[in-house]
């Protein structure tokens, strides 16, 4: 009854091939010796070596990693609070508003989020003299804002699986709300929070559009370097960088999914 027909298996296989083949070819050709990206002339890891000597790329990578780490931390804290509020606090004034604000960034086109945040920063700067020069801080705020929604989705899904009776027991035994939270809820949520942090980190690392709007002249993230170079055409060095990027993102996301899967298997 529940066996898959040949048509369905073909559709599934073709779908996975479609999703993975382009990226696998990209990784394969990053080991191509030729300067011409699409003509195979022999195996070589020399483009990875050139990458390691490219100061501009290394600087951008460092900025991207620090932005991602700080913004993921802020997003995890905000997403935890928002997710708790929606799942554990019952009805409260502003609940629908909070739910909407936590869902809308998931579907908002990036050009709209990016443009609107930049105009906010420019207007704030005119009115109160902050944030001044755009760069690290403004990109962090922008990334934390749009990744909070993703963390909140994960936190809510985790809380749905957790039995509220444990927290209620803590309350009944006389624990004040914050102690019940720190002692009971937080440890149970920890794998979900770690997964949320990793996914927020990955999203921030990967973002081009929002970072382009909210960064200033002195701050160029890794995707911005990749983009400006890709616009000029293909280059084997960018292939190497892209392969490392895919590898890093796959490891981070794999770790996040492992954390989420392990918990639900119990």
């Amino acid at each position: 009854m529940r066996r898959n027909s040949a048509f369905l298996l073909t559709a599934l296989g073709a779908g996975y091939a479609f999703l993975y083949l382009p990226v696998l070819l990209l990784i394969l050709f990053s080991f191509n010796e030729s300067r011409l990206v699409t003509v195979w002339s022999g195996f070589s890891a020399k483009w990875y070596g050139e990458l390691a000597r490219n100061e501009r790329i290394l600087d951008a990578a460092w900025l991207s990693v620090t932005v991602a780490a700080v913004s993921a931390t802020v997003a995890t804290a905000l997403g935890l609070m928002g997710g708790m509020a929606l799942r554990r606090f019952g009805g409260f004034r502003g609940r629908a508003l909070l739910a909407g604000l936590l869902a809308a960034p998931l579907v908002m086109p990036e050009v709209l989020s990016g443009l609107s945040l930049l105009l906010l920063f420019v207007s704030l700067d005119q009115l109160v003299g902050w944030p001044g020069e755009r760069g690290f801080a403004t990109i962090v705020i922008a990334h934390a804002t749009f990744t909070t929604a993703y963390v909140a989705v994960i936190v809510q899904a985790r809380l749905k699986l957790l039995d509220p009776a444990l927290e209620e027991a803590a309350h009944d035994l006389g624990a004040p709300p914050w102690r019940a939270f720190v002692g009971v809820t937080l440890p149970m949520l920890a794998p979900g929070l770690a997964a949320g942090w990793l996914l927020a980190f990955t999203l921030s690392l990967d973002d081009l559009v929002i970072a382009s709007f909210t960064s200033g002249p002195g701050a160029t993230t890794l995707p911005m370097v990749v983009f400006s170079s890709v616009r000029l055409g293909l280059s084997p060095q960018i292939n190497a960088l892209a392969s490392l990027f895919v590898l890093a993102a796959t490891l981070l996301v794999g770790a996040a999914l492992w954390l989420l899967g392990r918990r639900s298997a119990e």
Binding site: M1, R2, R3, N4, L8, G15, F18, L19, Y20, P22, V23, L25, L26, F29, L36, T38, V39, G79, M81, G82, M84, A85, G94, L98, L101, L102, A104, V107, M108, P109, E110, V111, L112, S113, L115, S116, L117, L119, L120, V122, Q126, T145, T148, Q156, A157, K160, P177, D206, L208, V209, V226, V230, L234, A242, V246, A249, T250, V253, G254, L257
Partner: protein, 283 residues
């Protein structure tokens, strides 16, 4: 504790997500000037003007860009549905212990390196790219096929990038479907084909709606794909907005375009929330 947990995310999102759109609206009604920042202060009502919006509805470029974005997003969503539905259906019918891996294989590209996955297609589609080199190598074609810088490539890029957004909600809806319902349809004499049309498809409708919106909305505002894979013949609104902002430094026009796009997309976002309330798609 309660107050902080509700208040902090609410204030943060109001300040950094909701309020910025009010500022976009304010800047869309002032004239552009040659200064830094390049617009008149919206605090002075005497400067208010609807010129940017007049430009929007009088210039064919903008109308075409909105039209192209909606049309291309629509056809891409449809193609993604046609590819994604059989995939999600096969995943939902796979053995339970294999489903986790199958889902993971869809989720990983969902999160990884959007820009780089578009770059991977540039390498394939270029006139001197892998597909053309291979076809010319075996002698099927003499001249490179125009695979890039056109609408075909944009559709391909959109379907490729947003396919996981389609498959995951479809899978969530199909996996929840009780097999007893299909058995009942079978016992009552329904052929598999008619059981699919009359039982499976209607019951997976929330997944279809959620998947279509999750593809359509970001696709309609997409910038990277039309910029890297598209050609000059069919500009999309996301790219035009980017050009107005970064290349022409016309912030009021960019703001008016943003408001226009937002208004066009608000309807499906509200519909998405209504569906999400019924069945959380990514829970």
């Amino acid at each position: 504790m309660r107050r902080w947990f509700i208040g902090l995310p609410l204030v943060w999102l109001l300040l950094f997500f909701a309020a910025p759109f009010l500022i976009v609206a304010a800047i869309s009604i002032v004239p552009a000037i040659n200064a830094s920042p390049p617009f008149e202060s919206p605090l002075d009502p005497a400067k208010w003007t609807l010129d940017s919006y007049r430009l929007l509805i009088s210039d064919d470029l903008y109308i075409a860009a909105f039209g192209n974005a909606l049309r291309i997003a629509f056809t891409s969503t449809l193609i993604a549905l046609l590819i994604g539905y059989p995939m999600a259906y096969a995943m939902a019918r796979a053995e339970p212990r294999r489903r986790g891996v199958l889902v993971m294989l869809v989720v990983i590209p969902f999160w990884t390196s959007f820009l780089i996955r578009v770059y991977a297609w540039m390498q394939l589609l270029q006139p001197s790219g892998l597909i053309n080199s291979a076809l010319m190598g075996v002698g099927v074609i003499a001249e490179p096929l125009p695979l890039m810088a056109n609408e075909f490539a944009v559709h391909l890029g959109l379907v490729y990038s947003y396919l996981p957004f389609m498959v995951l909600p479809l899978y969530a809806a199909l996996e929840r479907l009780d097999p007893a319902l299909l058995e009942a349809a079978h016992d009552l004499g329904a052929r598999p084909y008619s059981a699919f049309w009359r039982v499976t498809l209607p019951l997976s409708l929330p997944g279809i709606v959620a998947g279509c919106l999750l593809v359509f909305i970001p696709a309609a505002g997409e910038f990277i794909i039309p910029d890297l894979l598209g050609g000059p013949d069919s500009p999309m609104i996301g790219k035009i907005l980017w050009t107005e902002f970064f290349n022409n430094r016309d912030w009021p026009t960019a703001s008016a375009l943003a408001i226009g796009l937002l208004v066009l997309l608000v309807t499906p976002i509200l519909a998405f929330q209504a569906v999400e309330r019924k069945a959380p798609v990514r829970a």
